[in-house]
């Protein structure tokens, strides 16, 4: 190598396939932290170091280090776990975490507030359940997400197998995982590759793959580096339209960074889709920008080189080109709550959880309820990309038992609450996320509550609107696909983004920059009133804003950086 590598790339190369000094750091009992370099490497292992930001200042005065803890994210392709796994995962919440389970926006579990001293134990318990945390974070392929298809169990099963296969193919291989977490002997030898696909530099940046089965787009398929849109003919999965170059994040004040929806490139038959994903990931591995991390996502590689270039590269890497894309229609990116029937005579129940947080509280014993259900359930659990949960494949004999438990514990099947909450999503943000500039998960109920009041006043309590809140612009809760979205700027201040569609196929735009709640509500109130008066049959709020001329439909990097208005 003749040119000097960037710091981030050099760190990966020097890490001896993700070993770094993680093991030594875990053994240091005088600090709850690990070294800065190791915090970057542990992401590949599925864990982020965080600290309790509410206590930072207090502890600094107390001459105590920040209250460090770790977020651990699992790799669960397609978000499916068995009842046995559920019980194991539930037990970990008590033994190693803060007694809550959290479903992430990528269909997996996140544990929070895990102390360093408990990390190894957690990883070992996860391993014992046949699961792992490889690549749940870091510059590798992330958890492969897919549509949960509560009503099409046969298709779902096929899609789920593909999600597993794609995730397996692109999973990193280094023995460092087993050494650091599971206590196996170190087998590292200089010069011996442990990563046949990735090599020692891994990907330039994170890489995300999602699968949708039209008309459902609950996986926000176009927000991913690779979006696979299932094409079903005569109730058979024949293959996928492949979209490339989607991604959510931007950096405030840097117009060269922007969220982008994936572009449909063509069609690939089902039996070659795993190879196709590998080929696309390899293109990004070889051509992604490794000098500027803010420009390293696949979306920039695609925009820098163009779709034509991509088509040629794909044919070269894959051995054959894509064929022309098939027609498809995506209708919604929310979840379908309540009971649904599958073709095989079994039923499925989709339950709502606030921001994916499953906890035993005064109000509801959600964790206990699901533990009781897991003890009797014979199908599986499917986590949704909207942080909700499907109890899937319930046999007719089991259904009354499950129904009774759901009623006994008052689990929420989406029928009881005002509609707005059902399609709302927030990232974790404060107090644990180091990137957060404002509240998100803790603020969502307040914000949605105030909107609900407005909706009820204008006579639209049943109207669904996609609402997304994040604590920063990086996009964990896919905020640029919210019909109404807030991204955090400072405590109590947000950017207000408006005008995405209801199906994850058009992004919103920046409407007001760095404003407080009162300003946000003052801006939304008249728009919602106008919506109530003038909307057409089945028209969604985001579409209405465009038809009514309140916003344009055009989306460019500028529309996400330049506010449309400076005052209400």
């Amino acid at each position: 190598m003749t040119t000097k590598l960037s710091e981030a790339e050099q760190l990966k190369v020097d890490s001896r396939y993700l070993r770094g000094t993680i093991a030594e750091g875990l053994d240091d009992t005088a600090s709850g932290a690990i070294s800065d370099d190791d915090t970057k490497l542990t992401k590949f292992h599925g864990t982020y170091m965080q600290d309790h930001r509410d206590l930072r200042d207090e502890r600094r005065r107390q001459k105590l280090e920040p209250l460090y803890s770790f977020m651990v994210r699992l790799r669960i392709p397609g978000g499916v776990v068995s009842p046995q796994q559920w019980l194991g995962l539930d037990a970990i919440a008590d033994s190693c975490s803060n007694s809550t389970l959290r479903i992430s926006t990528r269909q997996t579990f996140q544990y929070h507030e895990v102390l360093k001293k408990d990390l190894r134990s957690l990883m070992q318990q996860v391993d014992a359940l046949g699961l792992d945390t490889r690549g749940a974070c870091g510059d590798v392929n992330r958890n492969v997400i897919s549509n949960v298809n509560p009503h099409q169990s046969a298709i779902h099963s096929e899609i789920h197998q593909l999600a597993l296969a794609i995730s397996g193919r692109l999973c990193w291989q280094s023995s460092s995982y087993a050494e650091i977490w599971l206590g196996e002997e170190c087998v590292y030898q200089p010069g011996k590759s442990e990563e046949p696909f990735y090599g020692e530099q891994y990907m330039p940046r994170k890489f995300k793959i999602a699968i949708a089965v039209p008309p459902e787009n609950d996986s926000d398929v176009l927000a991913n580096d690779i979006g696979l849109i299932a094409i079903i003919e005569n109730e058979k999965l024949i293959g996928f339209n492949v979209a490339v170059g989607g991604g959510m994040g931007l950096t405030y004040g840097e117009p060269a960074t922007y969220p982008r929806l994936a572009t449909v490139a063509g069609f690939v038959p089902a039996d070659r889709i795993v190879d196709a994903c590998e080929a696309i990931a390899a293109i990004q591995r070889d051509f992604g920008d490794r000098e500027n991390r803010a420009h390293a996502r696949f979306k920039y590689t695609i925009d820098d080189h163009g779709m034509e270039w991509f088509g040629e590269k794909f044919a070269e890497y894959h051995g054959e080109p894509m064929t022309e894309a098939k027609p498809f229609e995506l209708l919604r990116n929310g979840d379908r709550f309540g009971w649904t029937e599958s073709e095989n005579g079994h039923s499925n129940l989709t339950l709502y959880f606030n921001c994916g947080r499953i906890a035993d509280t005064e109000k509801a014993k959600e964790r206990t309820a699901l533990r009781e259900i897991a003890k009797v359930h014979q199908g599986e659990f499917r986590m949704t990309c909207n942080q909700n949960l499907v109890i899937a494949n319930i046999s007719p004999e089991q259904r009354p038992i499950i129904e009774k438990l759901v009623e006994q514990y008052g689990l929420d099947d989406g029928s009881a609450r005002p509609a707005l909450r059902l399609n709302s999503m927030a990232c974790v943000a404060l107090p644990t996320c180091g990137l957060a500039m404002a509240e998100s998960e803790r603020y969502l109920p307040t914000f949605v509550g105030k909107l609900e009041q407005i909706m009820s006043d204008i006579g639209l309590p049943e109207q669904l609107i996609n609402i997304r809140i994040t604590g920063c612009p990086n996009g964990c809760a896919r905020p640029y696909l919210g019909e109404i979205a807030l991204t955090g700027k400072a405590i109590g201040r947000y950017n207000l983004n408006l005008g995405a569609d209801f199906s994850g196929q058009r992004m919103n735009r920046l409407y007001l920059e760095n404003v407080d709640e009162a300003t946000i509500l003052a801006a939304l109130q008249p728009m919602l009133e106008q919506f109530a008066e003038q909307r057409e049959q089945d028209e969604h709020f985001g579409d209405f804003l465009i038809r009514a001329g309140i916003l344009g439909a055009e989306r460019t990097p500028e529309t996400l950086h330049q506010p449309l208005k400076t005052t209400v």
Binding site: T29, A30, S31, G32, L55, R56, D57, E58, R59, R60, R61, Q62, K63, L64, E65, L67, L115, K117, Y252, G253, M437, K489, A490, I491, G492, R493, E513, N514
Partner: protein, 596 residues
Amino acid sequence: MNIRLPNAPLTDEQLLQLNNLLQGLEGWQIDWLSGYLSGYRAAQATTDPVSATVAERIKLTILYGSQTGNTEAVAGQLAEKAIASGIDATVFDMADYKPRELKNEQYLAVLTSTHGEGEPPDNAMDLYEFLGGRKAPGLKGLEYSVLSLGDSSYEYFCQTGIDFDERLQKLGATALIPRVDCDVDYDAAAEQWINSFVDSLSSKIQASAPQSPAAASSAAPVVESIYDRKNPFPAPILENQLLNGRGSSKEVHHVELSLDGSGLTYQPGDALGIYPQNDPLLVAQLIETLAFDADATVELDERSDTLLNALMHHREITLLTRPLLEKWAELAGSEELTQLVEDKSALTEWLRGRDVLDLVQSYPIAGLDANGFINLLRKLPPRLYSIASSQAAVDDEVHLTVAAVRYHSHNRDRGGVASTWLADRVTDDTTIPVYIDANKNFKLPADDDAPIIMIGPGTGVAPFRSFMQEREERGARGPNWLFFGDQHFLTDFLYQTEWLGWRKSGLLTNLDVAFSRDQQEKVYVQHRLREKAVEIWNWLQDGAHIYVCGDADNMAPDVNEALLDIICEQGQKSREDATEFLRQLTRDKRYQRDVY
């Protein structure tokens, strides 16, 4: 009068001569001499070509507060440019910079971003508060400039830079060039600021012809203070900070007192004597129970005072002593009490957890008056705390680590008199009567290269903080090893950030901790010692000194036992030989203990 600085750069003979000279001098003569000496040195310096060139080099300290690294990068650019222009520039992360160094600076660059709603970045917080707080020094003579990075879409644009600028000005410093506030596209503005800052400094180099560093404030000669045990110094409180995190069952306070103007000096290992005040509530209860008048005059150690004052400041009421009980029994005429006093073990049992109020309530003395009562009680003795600071690092401050003693017994909440006074009842305006209680038997090795092993669980860690400060300031190169223990890692690791900082800087070689209640089985420092037996033995072979501070009842004997075992096993010695080995270490002052 004696100069007793162990680290004075003088031979024994020189020290003797100096002491002989100083003993014959009056105060005004010493004052003259100190001025003479600094002038003498200055004249020397101008004729010394090496010093002259050094004096010409302008020293610039660059401090950055940065959340994302942008400010750090600009600080680096400034340093590069300054160094290229012949300026002696050093860059510090604000969190790594000792705020009290500020008063020694001549030129200062402050670069900072602003966070959220006008708050300083995390690494700037300490310095920011220091400059706005009670401990901020006068900075007359300091020339500086501030560069602030911000985002004008925020209401409090560049607020932290503005605050730094204002605080520096308020402390007497002068802006060399005006502050520049940069927006998100900061490059051009930052570069311009760097250029004009470096230009201004460069013109200073030319302007400053080699001149004598006029009457620099030299270290004052060591003069014994007029304050001592009999005449304690009223020390103002500078800081009083709870060290335990939320949810802890411990309550340890870090207390900083000012010795400014007292002339008091101390060395690491010394203790501070404190004359506490009794709890006014307890005093009121006593007076009420006895039906006395708080304002009654009582005779007190050759002068008179009110009963209230006497009980508040001059008499012990929280502890009962055997002599008091004996006298009390005579006057009370209580059969029961007389019997109790005669039965030694029963008396010990009765005394536990009781105070003067219990005595007064249980065994009233008929016809006892206020004066008689006061004369029965013993004087309120001072409480000693191991000093947690080194003057080499904190100048005229003294720091303490005080565990609040609280317990419930015989249906009443009770507390240690000094510790609860410091924890609950002192305000910013309270002064604490203090004196230095020197401890010759707990001293750092004279040899700065000697390794030391410090075993100090709980508040026993206090003198080791002073040891580390001292060794850091001295540039002592001997390895240092701390064993610390307490109940919980998350909340009870006293001075954790300082220990980690010293470990990171390399001053602290090893740091071993034992938190007894973080797992099923209780783990204490002696367990950690045993785990490190081989290494400890090696350190001892290398001449290590061992220090133990803290609990005398359990910890110290357990640690002693662990050390004996280590010496037996590692040195392959009999128990007897190991005991003798440890005794010899004690005789050699290589095994020192401060236990209580």
